[in-house]
Symmetry: C2
Subunit: 544 residues, 2 copies
């Protein structure tokens, strides 16, 4: 790295302006509306795309009435054009960007050209390009798209040229017909839950602007919730795929590490970690069957031929689950007690699952201390003696974003690991792994039902530790988030625990209306089964 860039703010502003110019004038929201947008507003902007008049009625239908599986079917059969679908999602993403600041790179022109290619291919060849024929897919900024910059929110990365090649997964999806039209916002360093950096600023939560959109794949979360995307690609090493899902009220799926190719992405830190936690790619979106489409398509394309770190393990076809399922239930830790909305969501989910014939076994007093387990996991993120993310930040002179402060265990402040420490951490991890493994086997559990976080989306920069999501990364167990219920002062009131030290503080006004969620954790390498289990739970939770 060379010496700090004198004027990082000008550089960042110039990048924002270049991106902003890619939104056509006719897709701009009136300033009467945009002037209300702020990170302290309690505004819910979910209805703006429908009400602002920028999308036609058909475009509203295309973006709202279907999931990805439906859309691909419609396009593959020629009933709907990829061009029309892509245009509709470009418009809606442009609106989302103006509302919640969720995008980093805008590729509308390229996407519309590509969509026409898909339509032409179908017309000329009489068959779709593949299982993603014509489908617009949004991407976390850390994915490389040839010809587009990948800055991942480091000002110093503004000096990088546009990507010379696609990420491996982008290549695979492209070959199967996908259309790429936006990349989305993420936190500086990717290690906080607020998608906020000094290039692109902060992504807001469309349900309530004063709340966090989550992170690190928070741009996706907000964009997808506004239906500016039907499905987006996230990554996850401590919850980055799941936190935005639970904050925004959408669903997501984090597979077992090694099943989806991770190659040719831009990492926020040093490569070559000797840690035991691997990053994972997984989708955020609207329906579990879309995640099955994603997993099946990617793995059927034999990604291990393109990425030496992808496990050569075929996607198994499993039967729909019709038998009663058995869930373990984890209800949280006293140091991060569940906010009333989440306590109610979890209680209600367990109740309706039991009513639907499934069974639930309480695991609370059988698992290792969740706070300690989380701290162990976070240690694995601190193994770089070179502190590479700090170098990337320092290189431009930009400051750290404020949420970084609360994003680590205070007990670990100043901790400098030795090689010997890593041996001991691995022994600790092995013990945790064995307890969960044995609990699952001995109780014949199909999955674990637990919170993804102790609260709904919280005010900006107060998310803190990702205790309830980092666990599955430490274990390398697949997991999914399903949206469920929302904060409701009246309904939540009976779930208030007077003894609890809520962190962040619980104040019903702050959270009113924020979406709730539950997390379902599967068994390692049983991603196929977890998808089916998620379908069952999705159906049960959505029953009127």
């Amino acid at each position: 790295m060379t010496e700090p860039i004198a004027d990082w703010e000008t550089l960042a502003a110039s990048k924002r302006s270049a991106v902003s110019k890619k939104i056509p004038l006719e897709w701009r929201l009136p300033s009467s509306l945009t002037s209300q947008i702020s990170s302290t507003s309690t505004l819910n902007v979910l209805d703006v795309p429908r009400e602002c008049g920028i999308l036609t009625s058909n475009e509203l239908d295309l973006t709202e009435k279907y999931d990805a599986t439906d859309l691909v079917d419609l396009m593959s059969s020629g009933k709907v054009k990829s061009y029309d679908v892509t245009l509709a999602f470009c418009k809606r993403a442009a609106i989302a960007q103006q509302l919640v600041n969720c995008c980093t790179e805008i590729m509308f022109d390229e996407a519309l050209v590509r969509a026409r290619q898909c339509d032409d291919y179908l017309a000329n060849e009489g068959k779709p390009m593949g299982p993603f024929h014509g489908l617009p897919i949004s991407l976390k900024d850390s994915f490389n798209v040839k010809g587009t910059q990948t800055t991942i929110g480091y000002v110093s990365f503004l000096a990088h040229p546009p990507a010379a090649s696609n990420s491996i997964l982008v290549d695979i999806l492209f070959r199967h017909g996908a259309v790429f039209y936006v990349k989305t916002n993420l936190p500086q360093s990717m290690m906080t839950a607020d998608s906020h950096n000094n290039i692109f600023g902060r992504t807001l939560n469309p349900n309530k602007l004063c709340l966090t959109a989550g992170g690190s794949t928070g741009g996706e979360g907000a964009l997808i919730k506004l239906r500016g995307s039907i499905m987006g690609l996230a990554t996850d090493i401590a919850g980055s795929n799941r936190i935005p899902a639970l904050c925004n009220g959408i669903s997501s799926f984090k597979p077992t590490a090694g099943r989806i190719p991770f190659g040719r992405k831009v990492p926020p830190g040093r490569i070559g970690s000797p840690g035991s936690i691997l990053p994972v790619i997984g989708p955020e979106g609207h329906s579990v069957r879309d995640y099955e489409l994603f997993m099946r398509t990617v793995i059927d394309s034999e990604p291990w031929d393109f990425d030496e770190n992808t496990l050569n393990v075929p996607w198994r076809r499993v039967e729909l689950f019709t038998r009663p399922l058995k869930f373990g239930l984890i209800r949280g830790h006293p140091k991060r007690p569940l906010h009333p909305t989440i306590a109610r969501a979890l209680h209600s989910a367990a109740t309706v699952l039991k009513e639907a014939g499934h069974s639930v076994v309480l695991l609370d007093d059988k698992i290792p201390d969740l706070y300690e387990t989380g701290m162990l996991a976070y240690k694995y993120f601190m193994l770089d003696p070179k502190a590479t993310p700090k170098q990337y930040v320092d290189a431009s002179g930009e400051p750290w974003v404020p949420s970084i402060k609360g994003a680590n265990f205070p007990e670990l402040a100043g901790w400098k690991p030795s090689l010997d420490d890593v041996w001991e951490m691995n022994v600790e991890r092995a013990k945790v792994l064995k307890v969960y493994h044995d609990l699952v086997v001995e109780n014949r559990l199909d999955a674990i039902l637990m919170p993804g976080y102790q609260a709904t989306a919280v005010p900006h920069d107060t998310y803190g530790l990702a205790l309830y999501t980092v666990l599955q990364n430490l274990l390398n167990y697949p997991a999914g988030i399903l949206p469920y219920l929302q904060a409701n002062r009246q309904l939540d009131e009976p779930f208030i625990n007077k003894e609890a030290n809520y962190e962040p503080l619980y104040d019903p006004d702050t959270f009113e209306g924020a979406p709730g969620a539950v997390q379902i954790v599967g068994k390692p390498m049983k991603d196929e089964e977890l998808v089916e289990i998620l379908k069952v739970v999705e159906r049960v939770l959505n029953k009127p």
Copy 2:
């Protein structure tokens, strides 16, 4: 550890004597024969079991005419009794022990009781116990068998009580009908290729006693070659399953790490390594179809339910390969040039494979420097700041065995790794991985044909570095050894390279008669395919 045990030699002698007493008097070889046994003798003892008169003609047939698959079929159909098979292998193992010092623990009495149980089960239930019904299987000493000691050749471990439970794999095989009758010798610390320690002494090569039996699973190699075992369980982190196979002239199979449960074994060093090389269990034996039986049986029994570190990946049924195969060919490194016998074996194997319709692509100048790659791999074995194996040795006052000296890269003498070094090693490893991956994919290779070592079995304590086997551990590619040809002064002569600096030195007299071998390397997680490829190669190489 407490202070050194004053008289380690007495302790070791007492253990040896206790083991030796478990060989019945009527199975003892005459002193006229045993007096000829020494580590400097050029004697080939392969015919002793047949000629010594201890086994009946039927017992000779049972131990010589079949592979494990055959024997299980005969026992499962009731044509042959497990008791008779077990007795025959106990006798033959007793003979082997007297000839080449290959056993550590003798469990003949327990085995014969167990064999009767298997026979009774079949008689009473009308069905076999499982796919290993009644089959005697030998075990490297590091496997735990309840009630038997696991000293793994550390004098200080003589203070340990007998194992309180079985290794997970032992449990699984037991449940499927296996009979355990001996544990076998290995090197002090398991990190040299001479199966030699201060408790049990040195295992000799039955083909020529002055040559090494290999290691670390050398007791198995020698025992199996003498047909004192039909199949034995080895481990491999640098070649420990393959080196004894190529030294003794038998075959072996090292699967991808994580497919066979490794739990509840006794490790020679510290657990919790942050290194990128995982130990693997694989069988040594007489026929590739036996390895398929082993892999299928173990993985079909869902070992991930018993071992949290085993990958939940079912054993796939793959078709027999009838199409022509494509092999990459690696012929070695100038720092460890191939001895004439191995050069001839490799040349001949490539030739007969081509004659059989397969194709061979030379990879020599496309791969990363094999010596450097080997050194990188060895660094991963040096990551323990506590030097735990040294502590285990020092605890008793026993000296290091002599082969330890040559078992490491001189360039790494005194190297003390830092946490930062491990990051850099991982980056180096990633590069090596990518080159091999891309070569395999771009050339559409089914497998790689290469040496398992630069020589045949070599004189004791001269094996040196395991360059050609540690590569597959670094890559985590599965691999197998197939025996092929033998050292023959006349036939080898044209393969002498006058320019080569042979290490160890090549002297035709020393090696005459030693078995040759080739190594076949498969693709990661494609253990199923590698087994089928090995069957094809086994057939081609054995064609008269």
